[in-house]
Symmetry: C2
Subunit: 124 residues, 2 copies
């Protein structure tokens, strides 16, 4: 799946991003401003990992970081124009990905799969 996504992104001229960067961008498509801690929770990665990932997105020009004025411990991440432009491309890749993933899998099977996986998820 990682390879699939990486290949698709390369086809669209997006390079240097991993699946985790994509996860972060997805969060930012939904909510325009997120703290580092919110991102950490949202993508289930350690906060120090998020620091590195977001810094890379900043370096590539997709995201900005800004300190909160009230509580200066807090740092917000938000999309730049360039970052926002990724949304339609990502939606398209996501669709293709899911289509490939669920090829030959019926709706009923999908439903059952999800239900059992959630059960297993809660076992940890």
């Amino acid at each position: 799946m990682n390879r699939f996504i990486a290949d698709e992104m390369e086809k669209h001229g997006i390079e240097g991003l991993s699946a985790s960067h994509g996860d972060i961008l997805y969060l930012l498509f939904r909510k325009t401003r997120l703290t580092m801690a919110e991102i950490s929770k949202g993508i289930h990665k350690d906060k120090s990992t998020v620091t590195a990932l977001v810094d890379k997105l900043v370096r590539l020009g997709y995201v900005t970081k800004e300190r909160d004025n009230g509580d200066t411990r807090v740092v917000y991440a938000a999309l730049t124009r360039k970052g926002s432009e990724l949304e339609p491309i990502f939606e398209s890749i996501s669709r293709d990905m899911l289509d490939a993933f669920y090829a030959n899998v019926s709706e009923q099977e999908k439903e059952d799969l999800l239900r059992v996986l959630i059960k297993i998820y809660h076992n940890f």
Copy 2:
């Protein structure tokens, strides 16, 4: 799951091993001698990754590496005595892991899950 396994291993006094090292050891419990390429295929990891993983197992005293006499390109990995002693511990951890994993999941659900996952696996 990785954390679960790591915790269990630590309880048994086994430290410094990741899940991938466990995968390699499992292969060696079944077949006493494997080439680096066979391990690479067996654990679905790049051959250069296997070099690093096996070297660590050698460093920790669980495995030996030996060149083939006939074809000197080939390198065999095999368990040491210390490596073999891990088998019962690993079997026990494996059982506990699967029990935790499949808690509250019926046999029928397991079967369906596996069938659909295999289908999805073949989609890539």
